[in-house]
Symmetry: C2
Subunit: 310 residues, 2 copies
């Protein structure tokens, strides 16, 4: 059940209505691997950073179950940096700074020890690079999950579609599903996207939950109504990490088990947003995670109508 | 289990991306009573129309279980008229015309035969009129459910709060809950609104489902992902009618039964939006309704993890 994760490992500087941070560790692969590590270890990381990336952050990833053999450190270069500011309702954000730096010419290297990959998570990156990783694995993984974003739909749609065709599960948000399909109805959007190749589609709706589709079925997982969302950064990646981590740990890719994986991912994401950056993902207990999953189950549970005893 | 419904009975002229209608029967009490009639009959209607309101529409209400003894017909006056146009995504609408007409000086009359009222549904109206109905009932009903809208928060907030304090269940949408409470988080909003008096709060989130709160518990009912929403007019009223109709029919106001009532109401609303105006609510079968409720249950159902047989 070897799990390989590719994506950005980066610096983020965040501003929300509740405060701001200097450069802290961020990036899709960081959130994915931290989240997945609660289900499965090691998480075999494929990423690139500059020599400005502190050893302490690499140590932190390793302490949380990451195998960093596939993490390239580029001497004399700088790590990817993103800075963003959230609106008061946290539903929209403005990008203040994007410095690609080492990501500009990222050439992913797959160590031999990663060639046993059974579960592959393609975090948000150029679709060409996502595809390169699939091509550089000698054996096709049992399950490939892909995250992406509207940015690639805007500037590299054909490349994106070529990569989407190669994966098993595509995970995007509702606006991205509408953009990719040209359909407002998510049910119609899902049909069109599933015709592009993936067997499964996850549509993330943020505070409104997530939908899982295959060609015949729909499953809906609610989001937990939270008193306070502190910082939404990384929630989608944390969801994806929880989702694929759960599938890798149980090694069961049936639709029924994917439902559980969606709920597990949603539970992990609900922790992520409670504090700045990755903070809340660093010290969760299995008891906390199970209790949160139970809250998700309770939220939609309806007792059957009692039948009068005979 | 006598059910009394007050609200507008009116003309609507609707325009959606899929077409437009001339004046057709509309109004909160129309949708509420049509929807409730699938659970309980008669639905005792308190409303007012002008002499322009056709007998055929009154016949239609009666054929669908409405007791119209409390429906006043004002000679020489015109019925309430609303005209609206929906945006392409159907999530926002523009009011083109609002003619209060007979509603401007509506003085609700409660027939003696309505005094057995056990379940009272206050459809959207001036909060003063909603309160008058409560006061004109000799005995306080077992359950009072109130619907309202942001309009009254804008122009009659104190009157609105006085009425809210007198009801058991308040049903509003997410933006209204935020406006009424001054809180963006719906969990925080619910706490503040429940402190205003109601024991239960329903927050309708349209295509994103509905939340039911009491002071200790939260229940979430999803909305059914639909291929096509044809016309959202009346969906909230249809939900409310289904909700209170279910409670009146089962005569059980426990939180657990309210969950079932929320799902029944959501199922009724999902029919409503499939056609223009009240059309889809006129000829539903119990089999169709039960099948739709089953779809809601299936949407969130997760089979327990199988334990290996010993």
């Amino acid at each position: 059940m070897s799990l390989v994760v590719i994506g950005s490992v980066a610096f983020d500087a965040l501003e929300t209505p509740f405060g701001k941070t200097d450069k802290i560790i961020g990036g899709a692969a960081t959130y994915i691997s931290l989240s997945a590590s609660y289900s499965v270890k090691p998480v075999k990381l494929v990423a690139v950073v500059g020599d400005d990336f502190p050893q302490s952050d690499i140590d932190l990833l390793q302490q949380h179950g990451a195998d960093t053999e596939g993490l390239q450190i580029k001497q004399g270069e700088k790590s990817f940096f993103w800075s963003g500011k959230y609106a008061n309702d946290l539903n929209s954000r403005e990008t203040l700074v994007t410095e690609l730096n080492v990501l500009a010419d990222f050439d992913p290297v797959i160590p031999d020890s990663y060639q046993d990959c059974k579960y592959l998570m393609l975090g948000n990156l150029t679709p060409q690079i996502q595809r390169l990783v699939i091509q550089r694995l000698v054996n096709r993984p049992k399950l490939i999950v892909m995250d992406t974003m509207n940015f690639w739909m805007d500037i590299a749609l054909e490349e994106l579609k070529t990569t989407i065709e190669m994966v098993d599960v595509l995970s995007i948000n509702d606006e991205e599903a509408r953009q990719l399909s040209g359909q407002h109805s998510l049910v119609k959007a899902a049909k069109i996207i599933l015709d592009m190749g993936p067997k499964y589609l996850i549509i993330k709706k943020g505070e409104h939950g997530a939908l899982l589709f295959d060609k015949k079925q729909i499953f809906f997982a609610p989001a937990l109504p939270l008193e306070e969302v502190f910082d939404p950064t990384g929630a989608g990646d944390t969801f994806a990490g929880g989702f694929i981590g759960y599938l890798a740990a149980t090694d069961d890719i049936s639709f029924e088990n994917m439902k559980r994986a969606v709920i597990h991912g949603s539970a992990m994401a609900s922790f992520c947003v409670e504090k700045f950056g990755t903070e809340r993902l660093l010290n969760l207990s299995q008891e906390e995670i199970e209790a949160r999953e139970q809250q998700f189950a309770d939220l939609v549970a309806v007792a059957p109508v009692a039948v009068a005893a005979s």
